[in-house]
Symmetry: C2
Subunit: 462 residues, 2 copies
Amino acid sequence: MTVDLIVSDATVLTRTEPAEAGYPDDPARRRATAELLEHHDLGVADGAIAWVRPTGSTPEEERAGARVIDGRGRVAIPGLINCHTHSAMTMFRGSAEDVPVHSWFNDHIWPMEVNLTPHDVALGARLAIGEMLLAGVTTFADHYFSMDEIAKEVLASGARAVLAPTYFSSEGPAGLDRSAAFAAEWHGAADGRITAMMGPHAVYTVDDADLARTARVATELGVRTHLHAAEGMFQTESSLANRGVTPMQVLHDAGLLESGVLIAHGAGITPEDVQWLAPVADRIGVGACDKVYLKHAQQSTTPVRLLHDAGVPVGIGTDGPASGNTLSVLESMRLLSLVEKQKEADATWLTSAHALDMATRQSALTVGLGDRIGALLPGRRADIALIALDGPHLQPLHDLAAALVLSVQEADVRTVLVDGRVLVDEGRLTTIDVQEAIDGLTRRIPQLRDRSHGRRIQDYAP
Amino acid sequence: MTVDLIVSDATVLTRTEPAEAGYPDDPARRRATAELLEHHDLGVADGAIAWVRPTGSTPEEERAGARVIDGRGRVAIPGLINCHTHSAMTMFRGSAEDVPVHSWFNDHIWPMEVNLTPHDVALGARLAIGEMLLAGVTTFADHYFSMDEIAKEVLASGARAVLAPTYFSSEGPAGLDRSAAFAAEWHGAADGRITAMMGPHAVYTVDDADLARTARVATELGVRTHLHAAEGMFQTESSLANRGVTPMQVLHDAGLLESGVLIAHGAGITPEDVQWLAPVADRIGVGACDKVYLKHAQQSTTPVRLLHDAGVPVGIGTDGPASGNTLSVLESMRLLSLVEKQKEADATWLTSAHALDMATRQSALTVGLGDRIGALLPGRRADIALIALDGPHLQPLHDLAAALVLSVQEADVRTVLVDGRVLVDEGRLTTIDVQEAIDGLTRRIPQLRDRSHGRRIQDYAP
C-alpha cells in the first residue's frame, strides 16, 4: 500500500488499555497499559493511518514518493483531545482571578460577555486553536457563542473540533433553534473534521421542557449534546433541595442520556447516579477539568474511580482559559493524575498509563469519536503529536509513560498532524496567524472589560 | 555608574510584598503585591544589580561598553530558587512510579542508592543544573551524597547552590564529620555562589545527640542546617506516639532551630509548633514540595497559611526528581497555589502575587540568602530570568502575575543570568554539556537499577 507520509523510526504509542474495573485490591490488576513500540514507522494515506510497522520492514516501493518525517528520539502519540472548553475565552484569560465561582460568573465573566462581538469570538478561537495545536491538542470540544465563527476558524486551521453552540432558556426557543441549525449546517463539515453537538448551557439555565426538546432534536439530527451538569457537589445538592432529583436524573428524565451526552465536569455525580449512567455508557462521557476545581476552591472533583468502575469514559478537559488560564491537555492530565492519587489516598491509583488512556482512548469516546481518533491504529484518522524526548527534564528515560504524564513540557511537542496534514512543523504553526489574533484582542481589552453597562448575559444561581 | 550589562526595556519584577498576616476577613487586606515596572532597564555591575531605571533615562556615557540584552516583550524576574531537592536523583527519574512512600524508599530508592558512584552523582547533578537553569532556577538547596562532586558541578556551571551533605546516625560520627568538613571547605566558595549547610537526613534517622552536635557544629561554622522534618502528619503522629514530642520540638530541643534551619516539607507542622518556630522566624524557613505530596497520596501538605500567619517564610521546592519527576519551580509554584486554594476552601487565598512572593522573597529567606537574592533591587546579586511573553498561551495579557503563575511554560524562559553571567542565552546553556551527562547516565541505567544485592543504604521507618 502506497502512502503519502511516513513518520519514521519513532516510538509509537499505538493504543492504551483501561485498568480493570471494580478496583480490585491487587494494584497489579488495576494497571492500565500503554503500548509503546520503539523503532516503528507509521504510514499515512488519505488522512488515515495505513500501518504501523517496525522500522526497516517496509519495501522501498511502498515508501516511494512519501514525505518522511524523522521520528528519531521522538514519541508519536495520538493527538490530544480537549474534552471541554470555551475556546474563544482566551480573550478573557487572566481577567477574573482569585474569585469564587459565583463572583466569577456574576461579577466578571457574564457582565463582560455582554460586550462580545462575533469578530472577538473568531479571534479568540483562532488564538486558542494555535495554543492547542502547539501543545499537541488536535481535537477540542467547544461550548460557546457565535459558533459559526469558531467553525470557520476550525475549517481554516485544519484542526478537528466538536462544536456545541451555547443557549439558555432565557432566550426563548431561539437559542435551541440556532443550535439545531448549526448542527444541520456543520455536522460532518470540513471533510469530517467538524462534529456538531447541541449546546444547552446547563441543567439549571435550561428548563426541563427545553432539555427534552434538545434530546428529540439531537436524535433527529444524529448528534449528541454537550452541557454543564453536576459541576460540583454544590450543584447536585441544590438540585436535590430544589426539586428532589440529581442533575443526572434530570438528564435521564429529559431523554438526554439516551440520546448521547458529553457531561462537562460531573464532579457532583453520586454513586446513586450510576443507575442512570451505566446503561448508556456507550454514548456518554464526562470531561474532567481538575485545574479549575482547585482554582475555584471547589471541594468536589470528577469522581474518576466511580465512573471507571461503572464503565463510563472520563476524558480530560481544560475548561475555558478565563478560568483554567491555559488550554493544555498535558497540564490537565498531569494535574488530574496527582489530584486523583491524593483524593483516593492511594499512590498506586491512576498510573501514568491510566492517565494516557484517559487522554486518548477515553477522551475520544467522551467526545463521541471513539472509532476515529484516540489511538494510532490502522484506519484511525492520522491525528498525531510528535514529542521530542531529548529535553533534560525527561532524561534519563526510565519510564516513558511517566515522562509523558509527569515530566513533559508543552514545548516538547514538535510536530502535529490532523488528518495527516502537518499543522505544526518543528514548533511552528503552518496554517494560523496567531499574532494577528493577539494584536486584535489586545486592542479590544478595554472594551471587553467594560462593565459600566451594568448588565450580564445571564444570572448564575445553580 | 558604569555597568557591564544592561537588560533593556523589559518589564521588571523588582520586589514582592507579603500578604498581611492574621488572615483578615477582608480578602483585600490579605493581598500580596508584586511590583512590575514596564519599560525599565536593569543595569548590572560586578555581578550585582546596579540600578533599575525607566528605559531612556540612563545617560549614554553610563551605557557605553555594556553588553545589552534586549528585554522587549519580556519580563525579568528574580532567578527562581528551588528550596529543597536532591539534584543528582535525576538519574532515578521515573524509576519508582506509582508506589507509596514507604515502598518508594525501602523497595526502590534506598536499594538502588547502594549502587551510586561519585561519578554518577556528578553526572546527575550536571543534568539537574542544566534542567533547572533552562527553567529559570538559578539557586537550588541540595541534600545528597558525594556533595563534593555536586559542588564541583556548581562551580563549573556558574549556578548558585546551598549544599548540605546527607548523613545518618547509622554511619557513626563519620557522616556528621564529613558534612562539617564540607562546610569548612566550601562555604562561600565559587565567589560566594556556594553556601554550605549541615545535612542530617531527618529527625528519625539522626538521633538526638547527633542533632545537638549538628547544631553546635553549625553554629561554630556559621552555617544553617537543612533536614527533613515533619514530612507529613504521619511523621508527627509517629513522633508523638513514640516519644511524646513533635518533630519541631525535637529540632528546638536539639538547638537546631536556634542555630538556623531549612525544614524540608514540614507538612506535619501543627498549630502548637508555632511556639517553637515563631521566635526564630528570622533564621528558619520551610520548603514546600506539593507535587510529591500528591504523587505519594499524602493527605497533609505544608501548612502555608499557619506559617504565613506566624511569620515563618515558606519557599518552593521540587523535592528530588525521583519523586517529583521534574525540577521546575514554575510547576511547583503553580501546583502549590492551586492546592492551597482548594485546601483552604477559599479562591481568594494564595493569589498569584502571593505565589510569586513565595517563589522569590520567601524562598530567598528560606535558603538563608534573603539579603542577596529573591528581588531585583540595587545591591542584590544579578540572578535574573528573562521570560518571553509572546507565547499564545500567555496572550492577551490581562494580568501578568497570573500569567507567570498559571499560564507560563518553562520554555518561555529565554535567558538566565547568575551573578550577571549569562548561563542560558536564548534557550541554550552556555556552560554545561548536558548531553554528556544524559549519555553517561543512560549507559548506567542497568547497574543503577540493580537490586539483586538485597541491600539498602538505610531503613525507612519514620
